[in-house]
Structures are given as C-alpha cells and as structure tokens.
Amino acid sequence: MQSAQTSFENIRKDFPILERTVRENKALVYLDNASTTQKPNQVIDAINDYYRNHNANIHRAVYALAEEATELYEGTRDKVANFINIKNRNEIIFVRGTTEAINLVAYAWGRKHVKEGDIIVTTEYEHHSNIVPWQLLTQEKGARLEYIGMDDNGELILDDLDKYLATGKVKLVTFSQMSNVLGTISDAETIISKCKAAGVLTLIDGAQAVPHMKVDVEKLGCDFFAFSGHKMLGPTGIGILWTRKSILETMNPFHGGGDMIREVHKYETTWNDLPYKFEAGTPNIADVVGLGAAIDYLSKIGMDNIREHEIDLTSYAIEKLANVKGLHIYGTKDISKRGGVISFNFADVHPHDVAQIIDEEGIAVRSGHHCAQVLMERLNVAATSRASFYIYNTKEEIDKLINSLNKVAKVFKL
C-alpha cells in the first residue's frame, strides 16, 4: 500500500482550512469529523464554478444554462447511484440531509402505512434524528416505539430484535450502520435477513458509514437508506434518501409545490414521476454539484483505502489513549467492528472542560451528548468527549491529542 500511503500525505494539501492556525498560533487538529468534515478545493471550486458559470434553474427552461445546470444536477444522481450501488437512479431523492430523509420516511411512508398497535423498532445507540421522528409518528398513530438494546461492549443485542419480530406487529426496523458516538458498525446483514424473513421493512441511517467505508445498498438489501453530504467532504444542506420504487410508489408526497406535480388543477393534482414527486421546489442545486465533486474525490482515493487508513489511525489512537491513566474508552476494542470514532471520559473531568483545555492547543474534539441522549443514559454518563478521524488526519495529530490531555491532567491535578 505504498502508493496509498503517499496519497494520504498529499491529501492535506487539498484542504485549505488545514493550513490555518487557531487560538495562539496553534496548528488546527480537526478531530470532529463524525460531526462534519472539512472540504477540499475540488468541492469548493465545483460550487464556485457552478455559480460563476452555470447557474440557472433546472428541469424547465430550454436555454443553454438551464441545460448545463440540469446536467450537473442529474449527473450527481448518477454518481450517487454508482457510489453506493443503486440500480435505479430514479429511486434516489435529494434532501437536506439524513435528518430530513428520515423525517420524509416517517411522514410520507409512516403516516400512510403505520396504524394503531404497530411497532417501530430502533436501537439504543441512535442519533436523535432516528428516534424523534418515530416518537412523533408512533404517538400520533397510537403505535409503539421499541429499542434494540446495547451490550456493555457497545454492540446491539439482536435477541431483542427477535423478540419484537415474534409479535408480528413490527412495521419497520431502523438503525444506524455505524454509531456516531461509539463507532460500532452494526451487523446490518443479520438484522436485514431477520427482518426479511419476517416480512418487515428496514431503514439504514448511513450518515456515519457512507463517508468511511464501501457501502453497497443493493447487496445490503434494505428498503430505505439515508446519508448526508457534509460528513463526506461535501457541502452542508444536501443529503440522500434512497427507497425502493415499489415502496416509493405507495407513499404520499412529502412537500407540495413546483417540480413535484404532473398537472395541477384548482382542486386536484396529479404527481410527477419518481424521484421528482419527492423533490418539491427549486432544489439545492449548487450543493448537489458540490456533493458530486466530493463523490469523485472519495472515489479517486478509494473507499477501501479510506477504511484502511482509518483502521490504522483508530488502532493507534486506542492504543495511545488506553495508556493515559484515568482515561476510559467506550465501545468495542475490536477494530473490525468499529469505525474511526472514539468516545472517552477522562477521570472525573467533565468533557466540556476537557474540550476547552485542549482547544487551547488547537485540538477540536466534540464534547457533549452527541445528539444521542438515549445512549448517554444507557452508558450512565451525562456526556463524553469524542475524537473522530478522516482521510486527512495523521498519527502526529493523535500524538498532539495525547499530549494535550497531559495539560488537562495538570489543571485538574489527576
């Protein structure tokens, strides 16, 4: 992997923000990639180029600019299809992000198909975006929301799933492919095969998985798949919902408006074809173009190389962090089951205090509940500190993180 190693060294040059300093002239060590990632020149330039040279509304007008804008927009749909292996490009819907994707499913599919007494199953390590929409839906319908529990190793207890499926009342099982707090990679294959055998639909929140490993939606065999552009070098405000055509066709529209209609009369409307039925209004064209550039960038490096780089960084970080006295790492130590996300607590020091002290050294980690309060309750903590890695991070940066923790130990007399 000599060539991959070399290319990872060169990658940092593509990210202008990594050249800046923070606080008192400290090099930026950006370790909050599970939250959002930095953007390479290729993505920034693509958005810039779109506005400078191609900006027009899509799909309707016949002039040259509109044709170019439409090609760029629809071109990204093809790139997405290719990137996560989706056979039918018309099943791909552009949304604002994973949160909107899941809300779309809860609203347009859930309201149509979920009835009183039905069960929606989620997991204890979900982001709030994969809990709250289902609470809203089940409360409205008189349905139930149940949780697949998590063991002390940070892995899902799939016996819980069997128990719920046996009731015959489950309509949907929804889970993240990778936990945003623990980095645990869910056993999607087993969950989906159990659900298929029971005739139950599955939704995968791929927000943490798609940026960091090869994802093959066709092979997974789930029914809904959601992810966000900004966690994979793309711009904010753009994400993807994929759903099988046979299911999309049974769903009500999400938003009403332009572009989603076939014919509008005073009191009735017929809907446009897929996916446009679900893309009302002028979409976020520029950021779709930016997402296309991000997909090109990641594809060029190769998702397997990215996963390998992160395994290398994460193993190194876990080993170093485990040697810091008083530091507790949450989740599995089995690197084959976790992505580049490490949540930890340092003795009795609150994560906010840890984050603030190491921020003085230029180190950006996240502290708090990471929009996963159900998981925080399960771990019996108010908050954790979280370091999460991406393609531009280095072992030297992990060393800086370790060194900065010494300063925390000094201030808090650990």
Partner: protein, 146 residues
C-alpha cells in the same frame, strides 16, 4: 486572558468539592432545568421561612464551570430574603469566580444554576402571589433572565 485560564484553583476546587451539594427532602420549592446543548442538568431545593432562604442545596451533573458557579450561587443566596435573591445578577456569580469575560459558548454552563434558582423562586412566588400585577411583573422578569 487565554480561555484555559478560567480553570484556576478555585474553579477546580469547587468542582471537586462543591458547596451546598445535595437534596433537601422537606423543601418548600424545587426546580429542575438542563442545558439542551450539552446535557448539563441541575436541580435546586430550597427551604423558605418568613420570605428568607433558610436553606438551599443543588444537585446534578455538569462541567467544572457549572458546578463552581452553582456552589458560589447557593452560597450567595443562603440566608438572603426573597427580594435580595430576585436581584442577584449574573455578574454577582461570574465576578465571584473571575469569569466576567467567559466566552459565549460557556456562559450557559455558568448561568444554568442561576436560571434554575430564579425559576424556583418564581414558581414559589407564583403560588403565593395574590395580586395579578405582581404575577405579570414576575413573568416579565423570568422572560428576561439572560
């Protein structure tokens, strides 16, 4: 002042050994609030005799800034009468710990307990006030806490 300089001896000591930490089982009023951004969570219990805070305790989870400010605040409030406590300002708390220039993202950590204390007081007064003008004034005061 560097942002890390806020972690001076007093803050660290208070966070390790908070003052007035615990519960009052036979409280006259109790109030809970949390900071949705970070999950810090504080409860304050008070005994009120003849319009005076005769005892006050807090419990909950929070960062060093939150715990230190809660300690200082309860020390300030203890033994004071209700009107005096209504007039406690954020700088009374921040000044005590040299945190007047605390950065914006941490100010909510520092002032969570003050918000809980005032809310507790308003809920106590709300139950005991008869005059509706006073109630309106109270609501206005509560709305402009920060």
């Amino acid at each position: 002042m560097s942002n890390a300089d806020i972690y001076h001896e007093m803050i660290v000591d208070y966070s390790r050994n908070p003052i007035n930490y615990g519960k009052i089982e036979d409280h006259d009023v109790t109030f809970h609030d949390s900071n949705p951004l970070c999950g810090d969570s504080i409860d304050i219990d008070m005994k009120i005799d003849n319009d005076k805070i005769s005892d006050i305790k807090f419990h909950g989870k929070g960062c060093a800034i939150c715990m230190a400010c809660s300690s200082v605040l309860t020390e300030i409030a203890k033994g004071k009468n209700i009107d005096e406590v209504r007039n406690i300002s954020k700088n009374d708390v921040l000044g005590e710990l040299g945190l007047e220039h605390l950065q914006a993202v941490r100010i909510k950590c520092a002032l969570l307990s003050l918000k809980v204390l005032k809310s507790a007081l308003y809920s106590y007064l709300g139950k005991h006030l008869k005059n509706s003008d006073d109630v309106d004034k109270l609501k206005e005061e509560a709305a402009s806490l920060y």
